[in-house]
């Protein structure tokens, strides 16, 4: 089956232009370089239709930048995002509609001066998916689908709680019948009991609308629960990608292991945290070779020199670590 989303060699650099003084100093012979952050560095993966792919990593690993490029909000520096829309749906619609994004903060991503009904129906009316007179009916149905009372159609975003606002955000995304949802830390700002409600909603909607998710989160517990496949990122690169079962049972990359070991678990008994040492390096000045080598307990001289490539360990399980070369002659 052809994957719904194919990301190949995708990179995104952010460049901080030189200020005036630096430019002037360059004229008189100084050599000031522009600072470049490689937010996403040569990332490739594919997503099958109906799959939930979790992208996990710590701050600065490029997971949000990646999500934004997939959703078409940012344009890549190089590489491509290919989207294979289902043939049955109107194919003359812009590709941007097929991928919708759900953001972390459901308040700052809504227009506070628009009523819920307009938030939900603006895009589908503009693109001619529904007629203007169907507006009420359509919005009411969308609200019901995400578990909100259709009587609240005329309200403004500030009249809802955080969890309800996130439901509105989901209704808005679903209104243009997308096939792929990019959820960028969509539940991070919610309370635990509300988080559970929204996670259940995401899973239910996947079946109802046959959706595919790219689920970006720093919360490994959530990723473990919801994903079919997991992509682990560190400083702009994919370090490991695996189906959920092998991710949990046989994590390969030292960083993945460190992440899994660091997650607080709801288990009885005191536990010893044996944290991986060191800080997350600045993306402005990432370490040479394997980005993880300064924190890695197994780092060798080769890790400092040479960036490891992703290599398949078992079906669908890739890891970028030099240790794997030594294990297998």
């Amino acid at each position: 089956m052809k994957p719904i989303l194919t990301v190949s060699n995708l990179s995104k650099d952010f460049t901080k232009p030189l200020d005036l003084i630096a430019k002037l100093l360059n004229k008189v012979g100084q050599d000031n370089k522009e600072e470049v952050v490689h937010a996403v560095d040569d990332v490739s993966f594919a997503v099958q239709r109906g799959e939930i792919v979790g992208i996990v990593g710590e701050s600065g690993c490029g997971k949000s930048t990646l999500g934004r490029m997939v959703a078409g909000i940012l344009s890549p520096t190089s590489g491509s995002v290919e989207f294979d829309a289902e043939q049955t749906k109107a194919s003359d619609l812009p590709q941007a509609l097929q991928t919708q994004m759900i953001f972390q903060d459901p308040y700052s991503s809504r227009n506070p001066r628009k009523r819920v009904i307009d938030i939900i129906t603006e895009a589908p009316i503009f693109h001619g998916l529904i007629a203007r007179k169907q507006k009420n009916e359509f919005a009411a149905e969308m609200l019901q689908r995400v578990g909100l009372d259709p009587d609240t159609l005329q309200r403004y975003p500030h009249q809802f709680s955080g969890g309800q606002r996130q439901r509105i955000g989901i209704a808005r995304a679903l209104a243009v019948s997308p096939e792929l949802l990019v959820c960028d830390e969509s539940i991070a700002a919610l309370d635990v009991s509300i988080q559970a409600q929204i996670i259940n909603l995401f899973v239910r909607l996947r079946d109802e609308f046959t959706l595919t998710y790219l689920f970006i989160s720093h919360d490994i517990g959530v990723i473990e629960h919801i994903s079919d496949r997991v992509i682990v990122m560190y400083l702009g690169r994919i370090v490991e990608t695996a189906p959920i079962s092998s991710f949990l049972q046989t994590p390969n990359h030292p960083y993945t292991k460190a992440l899994l070991a660091g997650v607080p678990r709801l288990e009885v008994g005191k536990r010893e945290y044996e944290p991986v040492s060191g800080e997350i390096p600045s993306p402005l000045d990432p370490p040479t070779g394997c980005h993880f080598h300064p924190r890695c307990p197994f780092a060798s001289e080769r890790c400092q020199r040479e960036a490891p490539l992703l290599r398949e360990l078992s079906a669908g399980h890739f890891s970028a670590c030099h240790l794997n070369d030594e294990a297998q002659p």
């Binding site: 635990v192 409600q197 490994i220 517990g221 629960h225 949990l248 607080p264 009885v268 040492s277 997350i280």
Partner: protein, 329 residues
């Protein structure tokens, strides 16, 4: 256990906020003890009153908030009855606090060294500057900051988030307090850094026999480090007890729901046991049990009377009318 004398006794604490819209009973009848050297987890969602309980102990409740009832006794002395001067000599000395956002706690225009020396001198006017400096340097070394001699000359913005939190932990530990109140100390941190900070706190409190009140929304964090747990909902402690028995056999429906809401790898593919609905407004609490509108076991009794804490043995207290009526599931 009888020989251990509680270091902090909170009895029927009531902290209310007198706002224009009405009286918000942020904390309404909270009672619990902390023994010397004990780690107590105070868990609840936003608006449950967990932070205000911590602020009340520190005497940090500002107008329109006021402690209107109850007693807070620290080593036998009533904090609520203390003069501001007495409180000042207590704070940062015998009780100290760690906040969620270390950037807000540290003064951005002063070197870390200056702030630490200031904290030492505030409680010991006889100490010489070089002695105070040496103590500050040792404290930084203790929390795992490498090269403390150089790093203490830096400003807070020159540290990363995890390092800043270490600095504020070092400041809190400076005067060897008997009790530390930590309000969501790891919530803003990445997973691997959170692991490091929890590890340091655990180690330090064990070595110095400091009691710790760990306020958090994350049940899983508390499960791994606390001796006892208090679960708060809408201003009241609904369940408290030793961590092992409470986590393995939660009695209050809210605690059960909260635990069911935490995603984990063991329950992949099944929907999370969510708690429906949301936290009621504290301005307008229902009569009777505050959890009634979200509870599956609600009965007529819940609507009319506020459940009193019921002692179910093994030092466990539960505020639910259904507990003890039937064998707990």
């Amino acid at each position: 256990m009888d020989a251990v004398k509680p270091i902090l006794q909170i009895e029927n604490l009531q902290t209310h906020f007198f706002t224009k819209a009405g009286v918000v009973k942020a904390v309404d009848g909270v009672s619990f003890d902390i023994n010397a050297g004990e780690v107590v987890g105070l868990v609840g969602e936003s608006g449950s009153g967990k932070s205000i309980t911590g602020f009340s102990v520190m005497g940090l409740v500002d107008a329109p908030g006021k402690i209107v009832g109850g007693r807070i006794r620290f080593q036998g002395e009533d904090i609520a009855a203390m003069s501001p001067q007495q409180l000042q000599s207590l704070r940062g000395n015998r009780i100290s606090m760690i906040f969620q956002d270390p950037m807000m706690t540290l003064n951005p225009v002063l070197r870390v060294e200056t702030q630490m020396v200031e904290a030492i001198k505030a409680h010991d006017s006889m100490i010489s500057k070089s002695e105070a400096r040496a103590r500050a340097r040792d404290a930084l070394g203790l929390v795992g900051i490498s090269a403390p001699e150089e790093r203490m000359r830096a400003y807070p913005h020159q540290f990363s988030g995890g390092m800043r939190q270490r600095v504020s932990i070092a400041i809190a530990m400076l005067n060897r307090p008997d009790l530390i109140i930590a309000d969501e100390p790891t919530t803003a941190l990445d997973v691997t850094i959170q692991g490091q900070v929890i590890h340091e706190m655990q180690r330090l409190c064990e070595v110095t026999k400091t009691a710790l009140l760990w306020i958090t929304h994350d049940l899983a964090v508390v499960a791994g480090i606390a001796d006892r747990i208090c679960v708060m909902y809408a201003g009241r402690v609904v369940e408290q007890g030793p961590i092992a028995s409470t986590i393995s056999q939660p009695l209050h429906p809210y605690t059960r729901g909260l635990m069911g809401s935490v995603p984990s790898q063991n329950r992949r593919g099944q929907p999370l046991q969510q708690i429906d609905g949301m936290v009621p407004s504290l301005l307008n609490l229902p009569s009777g049990c505050a959890f009634q509108n979200r509870c599956a076991m609600v009965s007529d009794k819940c609507l009319s009377e506020i459940p009193e804490p019921i002692d179910v043995g093994e030092q466990r207290l539960v505020r639910c009318v259904n507990v003890g009526q039937e064998p707990a599931s």
